[in-house]
C-alpha cells in the first residue's frame, strides 16, 4: 500500500517536472551587461602570503599607510569608512600622537553645555564620521548616486581586494558598439552593471604625493587603497592567520598522538595472525 501510494506520488512529480522540462521556453534576451562584465584581475598581495594562497601573510605597513593616504585625499570626498575607529589606526603603525592628530582633523556631532547640537573635534575613540548625514543627502549631492560606505567593501564583493583594484584601474573610454551609456555614467566592465556613476577617482599619475618615495602611479594608488580597504574590512586578519597556524600545528600533533594510541588500542584486533 505504501509502495503503491509512493509510486503514484512519484509518477505525479516526475511527469509534472518532466512536462515542465520539455515545455518550450523563450530564449532569454541576450544580456549585454553580462557579456561585457569581467571578473577581477588576479593580483599578488602581501597579506595573501607565500604563493598568494591566503595562508600566512601580513599587511605591508607602509602600503597600508599609503592606502590610507589615498583614501583620505581621494575616496573620502564621497565615501565614509564608518565602521573604523581612529584608535584602530594603530594597526597601520601610527603612534598615539599621530592618531590624535588625525582624529582632530575630523568633526563629529556632539551636544554643547546648553544641550544644543554642535560638533567637536574627533578623538581616537570615535569612528570615522559619515560623509553625508544620510542616503538622501548623499543622492542629492551626487546626481542621484549613492557612494556606499567602504568599511566592508572588500568582503561585500566577490574576490573583494582584486575587485577594488580592478574597478579602480578598469575604466575605459573604449565603449563597445551597441552598449548604451548615459552621459552621467562611466564605462567600467568590472562593475556589475558596467555603467558606473563614480567618475574615475584615480585619474592621473602624481595625483597623490607619497612621502616614502614610492612612485605615484595610478596602478600603485589602486593597489595601496585596495590593501587599505582589505584591512578596514578585516582588521583582525593577521591575528586570525597567526592563531590559525598555531591551532593547526597543535591539532596535527594532537591527532598524531591520537593516531598512535589508536594503533596501540587496536593492535590485538588488527593483528594479522
Amino acid at each position: 500500500m505504501i509502495r503503491l501510494g509512493a509510486l503514484a506520488v512519484g509518477l505525479l512529480f516526475v511527469i509534472n517536472v518532466l512536462w515542465g522540462a520539455i515545455a518550450p521556453r523563450e530564449d532569454a534576451a541576450p544580456d549585454m551587461a553580462k557579456q561585457l562584465h569581467k571578473h577581477p584581475k588576479h593580483m599578488e598581495w602581501a597579506h595573501n602570503g607565500p604563493g598568494n594562497i591566503g595562508i600566512l601573510g601580513t599587511f605591508d605597513r607602509a602600503q597600508l599607510q599609503r592606502g590610507f593616504q589615498v583614501y583620505k585625499e581621494v575616496c573620502s570626498a564621497c565615501h565614509s569608512i564608518n565602521r573604523v575607529a581612529f584608535r584602530d589606526l594603530a594597526d597601520l603603525g601610527f603612534n598615539e600622537a599621530q592618531i590624535k592628530a588625525i582624529a582632530a582633523e575630523y568633526e563629529v556631532a556632539a551636544i554643547d553645555s546648553a544641550g544644543e547640537p554642535t560638533t567637536r573635534k574627533a578623538t581616537p575613540a570615535d569612528k570615522f564620521p559619515l560623509v553625508y548625514a544620510n542616503e538622501a543627502a548623499a543622492r542629492a549631492a551626487q546626481n542621484g548616486a549613492y557612494p556606499p560606505d567602504l568599511s566592508l567593501m572588500t568582503k561585500a564583493r566577490h574576490d573583494g581586494t582584486n575587485y577594488v583594484y580592478s574597478l579602480l584601474t578598469g575604466y575605459s573610454d573604449d565603449i563597445p558598439k551597441g552598449w548604451v551609456k548615459p552621459d552621467t555614467s562611466y564605462y567600467n566592465p568590472y562593475f556589475h552593471s558596467i555603467n558606473i556613476a563614480m567618475p574615475p577617482p584615480l585619474a592621473a599619475d602624481g595625483q597623490v604625493t607619497y612621502a616614502d618615495g614610492t612612485p605615484g602611479t595610478v596602478d600603485q594608488y589602486a593597489k595601496d587603497v585596495a590593501t587599505f580597504l582589505t584591512w578596514t574590512a578585516e582588521p583582525k586578519l593577521e591575528n586570525r592567520k597567526e592563531t590559525g597556524v598555531a591551532a593547526i600545528l597543535f591539532l596535527i600533533v594532537m591527532t598524531f598522538l591520537g593516531y598512535l594510541s589508536y594503533r596501540k588500542v587496536w593492535a590485538d584486533i588488527k593483528k594479522p595472525a
Binding site: 512519484g10 512529480f13 515542465g20 522540462a21 591520537g258 595472525a273
Partner: protein, 430 residues
C-alpha cells in the same frame, strides 16, 4: 544493554558505589559510550560522522551562547552588533567565524552521515526509528540554520527571509496567514528578527533532545556495520571504549584540522558576499541564493515551472521541496531488500552513486541563477530524485539478485585480513 556479553559497570570506589545507588549516571555513561556498549568491530571511518555531528552541534551551541552575549536583536543595530563582535569583542572574530563556518561543517558532516546510512542500509529494520529521528534532527537543523542566517540582517538575510517565508504563501487559503505569522508582519522586520532570535536560541536544545532519542534508539539494536549483518557473537564486537573512543578521537582531530583551515584561512569562502551589505528593503539583490547546504532543495523548488492539473507551478515547487525530504521517512518501507549493505547489492550500489551524483548536481543547479541550462538540468535531476526513491528503489529492491553474504561479521573481517578459519580473536579478559 543490547547484548548479553556487554560489560557491566562495577563501581570501584566508595564514592562511586554511593553515587551508583542514588543516581547511576556513571553506569549510564558506561553503558552508552563506554566499555558497556558492544560495537561491531568492522566500522569504517564513515561511522565517525555521527560523533562528529554531535561535536559540531556542541561547537555551535558554545559559540552561539557567547555570540548571543554581544548580539543585539534589533533591525537598527543587528548588523552593527555583528561587526562590533568582529572588531571590538576580544576574540569575537574567532567565535563568529567558528559559528558561521561551523554551520556549514555541521551540514557537511550530517550529509555524509545520512549518505553513510543510505549506503549501508542503516534505515532498514530494526533501525527505522533511528533513521526517522535523524530526519527530524535534519529538519530542525534546516530551520535553525535559516533563522540564524537571518539574524545577521545583511542583504541575503533579509531577502532570504522574504523568499523562504514567501514559500508558505503558495498554499491556498491559509498561505498568507502562515507567512504573516512567521514574519510577525507583512514583510521581514523587527518582529521577524526577534522571533527568529528566540527560536534560533531554542531549537538547538530541541535538536539536542532529539539526538538523545536518536542515540537511545541506536542502543536498542546497536550500530549497523559495513556488512549490514547482525551481530551474532561476542567475537563480532569490541567494547565502544577504548576501541571506538580511540578511533573517533583520530577522526575528530582530522575534522578539527579541516575546520580550522576554513575558520582561520578562508572564513568567508562558504558564504555570500552580499551578506556583508546591511539589509535594504528597497534594493533586491540580483541573485537571491541560500547557503550551499540548501542548494539541492532550492533547485527542486525552482524546477517546477508549469502549472499542472490546475495547481500553480509555485505551489508544486513548494510541495516538491517538502516532499523531497518527507519521502525519506518512508524509505524503510520503500526499500524491500532483505540485505542491508549496498556492498552486496550491485544494482542498488550503482543507483546509490547515481543518486549521489544527482544530489551534487542539484546542488550546483541550486546555486546558479534561474537561467538555462540550469533550469532544464534541475528539472531532469529533480525527476530522477523522485523516481529514485518512489519508483526505482521499490522495484529494484524487490527484483535485485544480491551477492552471497558472509556468514558473520568476523568472517568478513578475517577475509579482509587474509586469514581463514575462526581462531579466537579479541577475547576481552573477563
Amino acid at each position: 544493554m543490547s547484548f548479553p556479553w556487554a560489560k557491566q559497570y562495577q563501581p570501584t570506589s566508595a564514592v562511586g558505589k554511593w553515587m551508583d545507588e542514588r543516581l547511576p549516571l556513571p553506569r549510564f555513561i558506561f553503558g552508552a559510550l563506554g566499555p558497556g556498549y558492544p560495537t561491531p568491530k568492522n566500522l569504517n571511518a564513515f561511522y565517525n560522522f555521527g560523533v562528529l555531528a554531535g561535536v559540531a552541534l556542541v561547537i555551535q551551541i558554545i559559540t552561539g551562547v557567547v555570540l548571543a552575549m554581544h548580539f543585539a536583536a534589533d533591525t537598527r543595530v543587528a548588523f552593527d552588533s555583528v561587526e562590533h563582535i568582529m572588531r571590538d569583542v576580544n576574540g569575537g572574530w574567532m567565535i563568529r567565524y567558528m559559528h558561521a563556518v561551523g554551520a556549514s561543517f555541521f551540514f557537511g558532516v550530517v550529509y555524509i552521515h545520512i549518505f553513510r546510512g543510505l549506503y549501508y542500509g542503516s534505515y532498514k529494520p530494526p533501525r527505522e526509528m533511528i533513521w526517522m529521528l535523524g530526519l527530524v534532527i535534519f529538519l530542525l537543523m534546516m530551520a535553525t540554520a535559516f533563522m540564524g542566517y537571518v539574524l545577521v540582517w545583511g542583504q541575503m538575510s533579509f531577502w532570504g527571509a522574504q523568499v523562504i517565508t514567501g514559500l508558505f504563501s503558495a498554499f491556498p487559503v491559509v498561505g498568507t496567514y502562515i507567512q504573516t505569522l512567521l514574519l510577525g508582519g507583512f514583510s521581514p522586520d523587527n518582529a521577524t528578527l526577534n522571533r527568529f532570535f528566540s527560536l534560533h536560541y531554542l531549537l538547538p536544545f530541541v535538536i539536542f533532545g532529539v539526538i538523545v532519542l536518536h542515540v537511545w534508539a541506536l542502543h536498542i539494536p546497536g550500530s549497523n556495520n559495513p556488512t549490514g549483518l547482525d551481530v551474532k557473537t561476542e567475537a563480532d564486537t569490541v567494547p565502544f571504549h577504548p576501541y571506538y573512543t580511540a578511533k573517533d578521537f583520530v577522526g575528530l582531530g582530522i575534522y578539527l584540522i579541516v575546520f580550522s583551515a576554513f575558520v582561520f584561512f578562508m572564513p568567508n569562502s562558504l558564504g555570500e558576499p552580499d551578506n556583508y551589505i546591511p539589509a535594504n528593503p528597497l534594493s533586491t539583490p540580483a541573485h537571491i541564493v541560500p547557503e550551499w547546504y540548501f542548494w539541492p532543495f532550492y533547485a527542486i523548488l525552482r524546477a517546477f515551472t508549469t502549472d499542472f492539473l490546475g495547481v500553480p507551478a509555485k505551489l508544486w515547487g513548494v510541495l516538491a521541496m517538502f516532499a523531497s525530504i518527507l519521502l525519506l521517512f518512508l524509505l524503510p518501507w520503500l526499500d524491500q531488500s532483505p540485505v542491508r549493505s549496498n556492498n552486496y547489492r550491485p544494482v542498488s550500489r550503482l543507483l546509490f552513486w547515481v543518486f549521489v551524483a544527482v544530489g551534487l548536481l542539484l546542488g550546483v543547479c541550486g546555486g546558479k541563477p534561474a537561467e538555462e541550462p540550469w533550469v532544464r538540468l534541475s528539472q531532469i535531476l529533480t525527476a530522477y530524485y523522485f523516481a529514485h526513491f518512489l519508483i526505482i528503489l521499490p522495484i529494484v529492491s524487490k527484483l535485485e539478485k544480491t551477492k552471497p553474504l558472509p556468514g558473520s561479521i568476523s568472517e568478513a573481517v578475517l577475509g579482509k585480513y587474509g586469514k581463514a578459519g575462526g581462531a579466537p580473536i579479541a577475547q576481552p579478559a573477563e
